[in-house]
């Protein structure tokens, strides 16, 4: 090699030449005050969230597909299976069904939306670009999960309209409804982070679509979403009674129909926060190590 050896400049030299001390080589890494870091994290998060919302308007297929699929479920259960399912307690099946539809729509929408979106960013090299920018690293994940939250809120509204069209007549109080919507948004947020972890680990949008969502099927079907748990064999009942989707569906259903909720809501909330507490650090960890594959 025929390069001439030149030593990196000493800290003192920059000052002699009238340069900014901050940029002088060898200067201590610049540390921002925590409040300032938090401000920039929020700023960057909003920029990324804005991008996510714009994407949603540019790919209406995604939104349409998500709602059409859920609408099919509504029609299927309301008109095909519903007649054979007895939920008792003087509740019509369509009133029973809709809480299950809401929770299922949000759980799938959040996991799939965030997971596929991030895997796509990874594959297209966008994650590399974001990671090479002087921006908050958390913002890429937080911005996307928040944008997905807004999108999921929209699908729930559409599902509510579909439900009303096929005879859904909820009698819950406005306050109860507010609580139900709040719980579903928390559900959306925590399942988005599960999706983020899956998307960043699997790294391929098609694979996320194919394999990353499989586990949601037993979770939503072996629950109180579509049928009363009492009709299940006892071994399955143990699982169904104690898994998060059942708790979420039960709480949303009770609030929507104006029934006593009891401790179910707290258990459901605890599940969401617990899932979030595991998925969030995992997703952040995967993001840090994320490398784009060719």
């Amino acid at each position: 090699m025929s390069t001439t050896e030149r030593r990196p400049a000493e800290p003192g030299r920059g000052a002699d030449r009238g340069e900014r001390a901050v940029d002088a080589p060898g200067a201590m890494p610049r540390r921002e005050r925590p409040s300032k870091r938090l401000y920039w994290m929020w700023h960057d998060t909003m920029v990324i969230a804005e991008r996510g919302l714009r994407q949603t308007t540019r790919i209406p297929e995604l939104l349409v597909f998500a709602t059409v699929q859920s609408a099919m479920f509504v029609l299927l259960f309301r008109y095909v299976f519903g007649g054979a399912i007895h939920v008792g307690k003087g509740i019509s099946y369509v009133n029973y069904l809709m809480a299950g539809i809401f929770v299922q729509t949000v759980a799938f929408g959040a996991t799939a939306g965030t997971g596929i979106g991030l895997a796509d960013d990874l594959q297209k090299g966008l994650v590399d670009r974001f990671r090479s920018l002087p921006m908050s690293r958390m913002a890429v994940l937080l911005g996307r999960t928040l944008a997905d939250l807004a999108r999921n809120g929209l699908t729930v509204i559409v599902m509510l309209l579909v439900g009303l069209a096929v005879g859904f007549r909820p009698e819950g109080s406005p306050l109860g409804w507010l609580a139900a919507v709040g719980l579903m948004l928390i559900l959306s947020f925590s399942f988005s982070w599960v999706g983020a972890a899956i998307g960043l680990a699997v790294r391929n949008p098609e694979a996320v679509q194919a394999a990353g969502l499989i586990w949601l099927f037993p979770l939503t079907f072996a629950s109180s979403a579509f049928v009363p748990i009492a009709t299940m064999p006892s071994w399955l009942r143990v699982f169904a009674e104690n898994q998060p989707i059942t708790k979420l569906v039960d709480a949303v259903r009770a609030w929507a129909l104006g029934q006593p909720v009891g401790s179910t809501a707290w258990i459901a909330l605890a599940w969401c926060l617990g899932i979030l507490a595991v998925a969030m650090p995992l997703a952040v960890r995967f993001y840090r190590r994320a490398a784009t594959l060719k």
Binding site: S2, A9, R58, K124, G125, D128, R129, A291
Partner: protein
Amino acid sequence: MSALDVAGPAILAEGLRKRFGETKALAGLDLQVEAGTVLGLLGPNGAGKTTAVRILTTLVVPDRGRAQVAGIDVMRNPEGVRARIGLTGQYAAVDEFLTGQENLEMFGRLYRLPRRRARVRADELLERFDLAGAASRVVKTYSGGMRRRLDLAASLIVSPPVLFLDEPTTGLDPRSRLGMWELIEELVAQGTTLLLTTQYLDEADRLADRIAVIDSGRVIAEGTSDELKRRVGGERIELTVARHGSLEHAREVLSRHAPQGEAVHIEERARRVSAPAEGRARGLADVVRELDAAGVELDDLSLRRPTLDDVFLTLTGHEAEADAGEQEL
């Protein structure tokens, strides 16, 4: 474009090592790029070019070694480095579902420009990169060349003093490639320090001040394009005669002009004769005159300098291959 505020090289790498499982991506890489110059990092797929760029742009932490960019330690202050570099990777890393304008504004705001300044800067760059007409179109509708230009524009939002381009023209058609080269040359003329990886020898030849040839994770040769070519040997006169019968005449003429003891190389089937040239253009003129006098008719005649292909072949023992299917580390 802002000049570097530091004395010393704009990019410095010392003894970088990186392993991915069993694969040794870098095996002690040393690099030095002076401010305002262009280093071409040339090597086949899997040589370690991309890993080197990923370490220098803070995306990957090396197992061992030290690196500085714009005078800032890459491992100790990655955020400081990120504020001073632009990176354009192998794919156009822009959001397909946003418009060109929205993409640049988003990146501008992530570089922490205020919203209005981000917009003005986006307009400037779109204009300069000949994308103003497509500014409000979704990137999905852009051609490959347009995407690359937008991608390059995105790395220039804050006029970074140090720019990394990882195979900027791979997969582009010849015209778009030429366009990219011209844009890159403009940037360099304004004082940007550039590290460019490429597997195209002509690209390194055209854009780079110095070239580092890398193979199996380390630099095996470094110098200007001319220096590297000189290592392989000087210029050669190469001529193709019109008829097989004139091959012997041509050989005689060339051997008279070749340096002492140098052999004349004959390829019978191609009717091609070549020999090391002495005295450059004047030698060539003499050869032409003598061939003409001897009545030798020529199909082709050239004074050929060794290409970087020759350099690569000589240095590594294998040709520079552009096998895009291989996994790049």
